[in-house]
């Protein structure tokens, strides 16, 4: 969580327990080094657009943005919308990582151009597996255009 290093994963999650488990899973894959955790949508937007408290963050964009849906202040959908609406940030992969398997949420997300939608399993083992795989995929396997 070093803001001076370019971020690889931005985790947007309001539940501390969920965040802890996610980070633990990613750590096991060695992907947690350049991970930033913000606790709500507003802060996420600040980070992405370099506003507010994250005005001075290092260059480079997250390789995915792991986004939870239900959050106070600004929820996941709003973050997604703003990111995909802005040409500066539209290319940033957004991965929904949420407990909600509601058709409605999924539809809306895809409408707004989410790159991937993952439903958090309740069982820990499964949870870990999912997060690891997702992390590997988006950080290592997935290719992005070089940052400006």
């Amino acid at each position: 969580m070093n803001e001076l290093e370019p971020v690889e994963i931005l985790l947007v999650e309001d539940s501390a327990t969920d965040a802890e488990m996610t980070i633990r899973a990613l750590k096991r894959e060695g992907l947690a080094n350049r991970l930033t955790w913000v606790r709500d949508g507003a802060e996420a937007l600040d980070f992405v657009f370099r506003e507010g408290s994250h005005v001075d963050r290092a260059n480079g964009e997250p390789k995915p943005l792991l986004l939870d849906l239900k959050m106070p202040k600004v929820d996941g959908i709003e973050v997604l919308r703003r990111m995909k609406a802005d040409s500066r940030t539209a290319h940033i992969p957004v991965v929904m990582l949420t407990s909600s398997a509601e058709e409605r949420d999924m539809l809306r997300s895809y409408e707004l151009g989410v790159n991937s939608y993952l439903v958090k399993p309740v069982e820990f083992d499964q949870f870990v597996e999912q997060v690891s795989k997702a992390g590997c995929y988006w950080v290592i396997m997935n290719k992005l255009p070089s940052s400006r």
């Binding site: 327990t17 969920d18 909600s100 398997a101 309740v122 069982e123 820990f124 949870f127």
Partner: protein, 745 residues
């Protein structure tokens, strides 16, 4: 040619047919040459008469002339005779003289012979001439004088002779005698000559006259005959032509008569005539053929009454008397009895024929076969009766008003009941006499509108009846006559009071229902957000519990003993279970709210797919027996769940068998399809079968068989939403059979 009702062609009068008029009539009618004076019968007569007269005249004249001619000829003859006689006389006297002279000279007695002869004949001759003349006439007198002279001469001659004989005569006497004789002779000659001259003159005159007469006669004869001939020829020609025309006219008349007869006999209606006693004196072929009789059987043998039914007979007798009085009868209906006994309804019209004294002679009757008319009348009557009965039996009030004055002309029984007014009270009256002012005015306005627009008007009115206030739904329309003008106004009223009440009730119920529906919808929405919360909010802590126990296990295992690890395992098992419960519950809840599609679902394919999805994960031992599954209408997504749940159950509960067998079959039955999933597993106790499909209801423990008990509840819910049923059968330890039905229309 037209026949009038009396049945005979005009222009013919019974029994009186003056030929001239007839001929003239025919001549007028036919194509004969136009009438001119020459063919005028009078002209013919005149011509013939003229000719005859002329001939007679000629004959008469000729006769007369002939007579005159004969007379004249006779006179001429007579004159010739007279002249000859006179000549003979002269000759005679001369002969006598000569004879005498001869004697005198010779004194030969032989000369006396001719002398005597001449003398005798002379006398005879003179007498003859005398006879020739009319005794009283001057001629006779002259001839008498001549006779006298001759006698004197003869006497002289005799004297002479005697004298000689006696030789007594003196020469002077002789000389005197001779001189006397010569004078007498001279006188005789003069007289005779004069007479001869007269006679000759007369002869010439008479000859001339004769000749004149003859030529006149000839002329008259020739000319007269010629004219007569011409006249005769002319008359002959005219007569010939007249004859020819007559012949032609006769021919035409005959043909005409035949035509008329044919018209009479072959007319499309029957004709007959009856005399004063009702005896049939004449009848045409048509009527005979209708009746089936021959002419000989009827004419002058049967009375008309013999051919009528008893009922008709009565009416006929009366009518016949009237007919004789007033001279005509019109359209009387009777029933004739045919020879074979069948009846023929007819209409009879007749006129009277009177004789020269004005007495009843016979009737001229025309008879029309009104079988069709009668039948039509009966049909009409039947139809009317039917219509009337229909009108009366229609349960709705029906009325008809005349368009002119809007008075009721028809009012049916249903109307009487509804309004509590009797027919008699309504017919002929108008609305303002039956209802109060306002209502009557409304009705009048409606009626006017209908009649003016020609379109049907639907109205509702409330009126007071003996049964209370009733709402009438009335349809009014105008019935037009053939000219397109409104003739009547037809109204049909229905008492919709009850109907209105029902409507009101229904609308109230509907409102209540809507309220309930809205409430339900609100509740549904609440449930939805609840489920949403559950799905999201309940899962997170559950994840945390499971996760952190795992972390504890992983990171601090060395510090935990066997029991500690077991406890952690229990925690984890239960969280997993809770997660499953939540998922199942959510699924179950969602099912009720999802919109259901209705497609033709290939159940066989769906079942197979579900099976493959389940067995793809390694329940290779189990055998599936998939029978023919009929298609059914439904939601494929939901039905997939049904198959998934039933098949997974079947697999689960037969999983402990050596040879797990699952059977899937379906059959059509009575408007639905019945599907069956059977297994050879442990089965269940039928006593608890009604609990099977309850939510979270299980008949086995989780240790025996895993599961939350929602699967069958889901099946039941989906099938119920499709309008089908579920049930199950089983024998403990001998497998189970689960059935569900889907309706097919």
């Amino acid at each position: 040619m037209q026949t009038d009702v009396r049945g005979q062609p005009p222009g013919l009068r019974a029994h009186r047919r003056p030929r001239t008029r007839h001929c003239r009539a025919v001549a007028r009618e036919g194509s004969s040459p136009p009438m001119n004076l020459v063919t005028h019968p009078f002209a013919i007569r005149a011509g013939v008469a003229g000719a005859l007269l002329l001939l007679a005249a000629i004959a008469a004249t000729s006769l007369v002339r002939m007579n005159r001619f004969a007379d004249a000829a006779q006179w001429v003859d007579h004159t010739h005779e007279v002249i000859e006689g006179l000549d003979a006389v002269l000759l005679g006297i001369t002969e006598a003289e000569t004879a005498q002279r001869g004697f005198l000279l010779t004194s030969d007695e032989t000369y006396l012979i001719p002398y005597s002869a001449s003398r005798a004949s002379l006398t005879a001759e003179v007498d003859r001439v005398l006879h020739l003349a009319d005794p009283d006439s001057e001629k006779a007198a002259r001839i008498g004088r001549v006779k006298g002279m001759i006698e004197r001469r003869l006497a002289l001659l005799d004297q002479g002779i005697a004298a000689l004989r006696e030789s007594r005569e003196e020469s002077t006497d002789a000389a005197r005698r001779i001189t006397e004789g010569s004078t007498a002779m001279g006188e005789i000659r003069a007289a005779v000559g004069e007479m001869k001259r007269d006679e000759l003159a007369l002869l010439t005159q008479r000859s001339a006259t004769l000749e004149r007469d003859r030529s006149t006669a000839r002329l008259i004869l020739v000319v007269g005959n010629a004219i007569a001939l011409v006249l005769l020829a002319g008359s002959f020609g005219i007569v010939l032509r007249e004859v020819r025309q007559r012949q032609e006219a006769e021919l035409r008349a005959r043909r005409y008569a035949l035509q008329v007869e044919d018209l009479y006999n072959a007319a499309p209606c029957g004709y007959h005539s009856i005399d004063g006693t009702g005896l049939i004196v004449r009848i045409n072929d048509t009527e005979l053929s209708w009746l089936g009789y021959s002419r000989e059987e009827v004419v002058n043998r049967l009375r008309l009454t013999d051919l009528l039914t008893p009922e008709s007979r009565q009416r006929f007798e009366q009518a016949f008397d009237e007919f004789k009085g007033q001279g005509f009868a019109r359209d009387l209906e009777y029933e004739l009895v045919r020879k074979d006994g069948s009846l023929l309804p007819v209409a009879v019209s007749a006129t009277l024929v009177r004789d020269a004294n004005g007495n009843y002679l016979m009737s001229r009757s025309s008879v029309f076969d009104i079988t069709k008319r009668k039948r039509a009348e009966q049909e009409l009557h039947r139809a009317n009766v039917f219509l009337d009965s229909v009108l009366e039996h229609i349960p709705n009030m029906m009325f008809v008003k005349s368009a002119e004055d809007l008075a009721y002309v028809r009012f049916n029984h249903a109307g009487e009941l509804l309004l509590g007014l009797s027919r008699d009270a309504v017919l002929g009256k108008r609305d303002n006499e039956l209802f109060d002012e306002d209502l009557a005015a409304r009705f009048a306005a409606q009626d006017r509108e209908v009649l003016a627009s020609g379109r049907m008007l639907v109205v509702e009115d409330t009126l007071a009846t003996p049964g209370g206030e009733r709402i009438l739904h009335t349809r009014k329309l105008s019935i037009q006559d053939q000219a397109g003008q409104p003739g009547y106004l037809l109204g049909i009223s229905e008492d919709i009071t009850e109907h209105r009440l029902s409507e009101r009730k229904i609308s109230e119920l509907n409102q209540a229902l809507e309220l309930r529906a809205r409430q339900l919808e609100a509740t549904n929405k609440e449930l939805e957000s609840f489920s949403y919360s559950v799905s999201h909010d309940l899962r997170s802590p559950l994840r945390a519990i499971d996760g952190f126990s795992r972390i504890l296990e992983e990171d601090h295992a060395p510090r935990l003993d066997q029991e500690g690890l077991r406890l952690l395992a229990v925690i984890r098992t239960n969280t997993r279970r809770m997660a499953q419960l939540i998922d199942d519950l959510l699924a179950f809840s969602r099912l009720g709210r999802q919109a259901m599609a209705l497609l033709d679902v290939n159940m066989a394919a769906l079942a197979r797919e579900s099976w493959e999805q389940l067995t793809g994960e390694g329940s290779g031992r189990a055998q599936l027996e998939l029978g023919e599954l009929p298609d059914a209408p439904g939601d494929p997504v939901l039905l997939r769940q049904v198959w998934a749940n039933l098949l997974s159950n079947a697999l689960k509960y037969s999983g402990k068998r050596e040879q797990p067998q699952v059977g899937v079959s379906g059959r059509r039955e009575d408007g639905e399809v019945v599907y069956c999933v059977s297994d050879n597993g442990v089965g269940f106790d039928m006593r608890y079968s009604d609990k099977l499909f309850g939510v979270f209801q299980r008949l086995h423990t989780t240790e025996e068989f895993p599961g939350t008990g929602v699967g069958l509840a889901i099946v039941k819910r989906v099938v119920a939403r499709h309008g089908g049923r579920v049930w199950a059968e089983s024998t403990l330890d001998h497998g189970a059979r689960f059935y569900f039905t889907l309706p097919v229309r």
